[in-house]
């Protein structure tokens, strides 16, 4: 009996020392991510929150605990309406990008057989990202402007005598420019999803007697939904927060929320208000991401 008791005691001891070791090992793995998260996420957000609760007097920041700025985001014009307009521009960009990206991704995934050609086209989609964003936005000025390529073409074709001015400096030109710039993200995400569809699936459907439209609507389209959603989230987010396109190709009424934040920071020197808008947008963004994450999960196809 005594030997059993002894071994039980020893056993408890080894368990204790193993636990100590485990705890030390755990610290080794836990500390770096926690530190990273604290330095790069927690502290900046805390500073943002701290700033947003204060106010500015005579160009000086005065700390406080007031929700006034947050109330103003929703009550004082034009904050809320500009947020809504930015969301509208983001949504239009996301939809247009998907419309442009889908056929290209489809072509790339199902009609390009040679892997070399596939890579080449893929590269052509990415290459514009080697050029500066500003250059690309400017390029649209030369296309859409009154002395631009589009107007020159229209005049040559005899469709109009005067240069048409409705192409540039409005929401339309902002959406077109943003669509052009962010479509590659939609292509990558839709293509990645389409590429997962095995050839045998298409062959099986044809073997069962299904025509092209039936294969597309019953098989390819449902499977590609998560890719379209993921691409939509990326293009929406990027377009929503954009501030360059409104400045370069937008009109007086196409100011977006990021432009307002920049003005509050730089011109008006109202950092607390800017911080409050930032936090509202971040919160909306988190809501959007969880909603779309849920949607993506719902529509995701497991092979």
């Amino acid at each position: 009996m005594s030997s059993i008791a002894l071994s039980a005691g020893e056993n408890a001891k080894t368990i204790r020392s193993a636990r100590r070791l485990d705890r030390r090992r755990m610290l080794f793995w836990v500390v770096p991510p926690v530190a990273w998260f604290t330095v790069f996420m927690l502290i900046p957000y805390a500073m943002l929150l701290y700033t947003s609760l204060g106010r500015v007097e005579d160009m000086r920041f005065i700390p406080g605990l007031s929700l006034r700025n947050f109330i103003q985001v929703f009550t004082v014009d034009p904050y809320l309406s500009v947020i809504i307009k930015s969301a509208r521009i983001g949504l239009m960009t996301a939809v247009l990008s998907a419309i442009v990206a889908y056929p290209l991704s489809f072509f790339l995934a199902f009609h390009v057989r040679s892997s070399r050609l596939k890579f080449l086209i893929y590269l052509l989609v990415i290459v514009p990202w080697w050029a500066s964003y500003l250059v690309k936005a400017y390029a649209w000025k030369t296309i859409l402007g009154s002395g631009g390529i589009l107007n020159a073409l229209l005049q040559k074709a005899g469709l109009t005598d005067e240069p048409v001015r409705i192409f540039l400096y409005n929401e339309f030109s902002v959406v077109v420019t943003l669509t052009y710039i962010f479509t590659p993200f939609a292509v990558l995400s839709i293509y990645a999803q389409l590429e997962r569809i095995p050839t045998s699936l298409i062959e099986a459907a044809r073997n069962l007697g299904a025509g092209g439209w039936m294969i597309f609507w019953r098989i390819i389209a449902p499977i590609s939904v998560p890719g379209v959603v993921a691409g939509g989230i990326i293009t929406f987010s990027l377009a929503f927060g954009d501030f360059v396109a409104p400045v370069l190709v937008g009109g007086p009424d196409s100011v977006m929320i990021s432009n307002i934040v920049i003005n509050l920071l730089g011109v008006a020197f109202d950092w607390p208000m800017a911080a409050a808008i930032g936090l509202v947008i971040i919160t909306l963004g988190l809501l959007l991401i969880s909603a779309s994450g849920w949607l993506e999960e719902k529509t995701q196809i497991r092979f």
Binding site: L201, E203, N207, L208, G209, G211, I219
Partner: protein, 362 residues
């Protein structure tokens, strides 16, 4: 006019890395209606390409495919009344089991053939056939490999095709499941009486299930015949060594006596074969000796002598590796496990079953 499928000089060129190669190189075959035919061979022998050409998923470079005497070489895949069961199952991942099986009944060609109520009834009838009616609402990713393959089979059969094509359908299943599925397939073939054309590299599968086997190699059919024909009377050395565990010993035809053909081995010993009449006296031949057709016996005339080089305990039997005297060759002999074990190096005499040994032309 022949009913069934006829392949005439079927060839398929594959272009790759600048040089073409014949994936299928002149296949001639007649597949009778209602038969279970297997295309058997190692990977790259052209069996899958042949099957895909029959299905219409590949276009032949030359040659013809006839269906009940009609040329269907250029008929689009969607119009061929043949269904394929794929190696990777190819189930539609976005649909339930029921929707997968229903798919083929909703294509344009099938429209009007069955009413909605009939479709539902038919789908469940075939899900029952493969024992999956309880899983109708599940998505493919919730099924095991064997269940997926059965859905794939139900989806193929539900449209009532006259021909069902199988592309290594059991390749990704484990050994036990494969055996169960083999029996299922034989049962379904018997119940429905459709033509089954089956591709596999597994000779046991081919032997167990088929009415006839086409052994393929390098895009050509090496032999097309019943499993018994192919096993007992292989047409050439390749078929002999691909099917079963045959050992081929070099020999010469010594002549003929009242009971059959007499061949002499390299060491001068003579073996009599009773079912052979194809070889001429003096001809060099390969003597095919399968382990199960050999037995140990008392030394004497008509026996082949040698020494045991190795023995392998196989559970069901002991397999002895016997080196024949005078370097005439090596054969394997199966012996019952309850007989006394024979030591390595011991001199033995081997009796050859005169009905089963077979000569192969050089």
């Amino acid at each position: 006019m022949t009913t069934g499928i006829e392949l005439r000089k079927l060839r398929k060129l594959y272009e790759g890395h600048g040089q073409g190669a014949w994936a299928v190189d002149g296949v001639d075959m007649t597949i009778g209606a209602g038969k279970f035919i297997t295309l058997l061979g190692p990977s790259g022998c052209g069996k899958t390409t042949t099957l895909r050409m029959i299905a219409g998923l590949e276009v032949p470079t030359s040659g013809q495919i006839l269906r009940d005497g009609l040329d269907i070489t250029d008929q689009p895949v969607t119009d061929r009344d043949m269904r394929m069961v794929f190696q990777d199952f190819a189930l539609f991942p976005n649909m339930t089991v029921e929707q997968n099986v229903t798919f083929g009944l909703r294509v344009r060609r099938m429209r009007g053939r069955y009413s909605e109520a009939e479709i539902k009834k038919r789908v469940f009838q075939f899900l029952d056939l493969v024992h999956l009616a309880d899983h109708a609402h599940k998505k493919p990713h919730q099924l095991s490999g064997g269940q997926k393959q059965r859905v794939s089979l139900a989806r193929a059969l539900v449209t009532d095709p006259q021909v069902v094509l199988f592309d290594e359908p059991l390749g990704s299943l484990d050994a036990n499941l494969r055996k169960i599925m083999q029996i299922e397939l034989i049962r379904i073939h018997r119940e429905l009486g459709k033509t089954f054309i089956y591709v596999t590299h597994d000779q046991d599968e081919a032997m167990a299930m088929s009415n006839a086997i086409a052994v393929m190699r390098g895009g050509k059919v090496m032999q097309f015949g019943s499993p018994r024909d192919i096993y007992d009377r292989p047409a050439n050395r390749y078929v002999a060594s691909f099917i079963g565990h045959a050992h081929i010993v070099e020999a010469k035809v010594a002549g003929r006596d009242g009971q059959g053909l007499v061949v002499s081995l390299g060491n001068g010993e003579k073996v009599r074969l009773e079912n052979e009449n194809s070889a001429a006296t003096g001809e060099s031949v390969g003597l095919m000796l399968r382990a199960e057709d050999l037995a140990f016996g008392e030394a004497g005339p008509g026996m082949v002598s040698g020494n045991v080089a190795d023995s392998l305990y196989r559970g069901e039997y002991i397999e002895y590796v016997v080196e024949l005297n005078g370097g005439a060759g090596v054969v394997h002999v199966h012996a019952r496990t309850d007989l006394p074990a024979i030591d390595q190096g011991a001199a033995v005499a081997v009796r050859v079953n005169p009905h089963k040994a077979h000569v192969l032309a050089h």
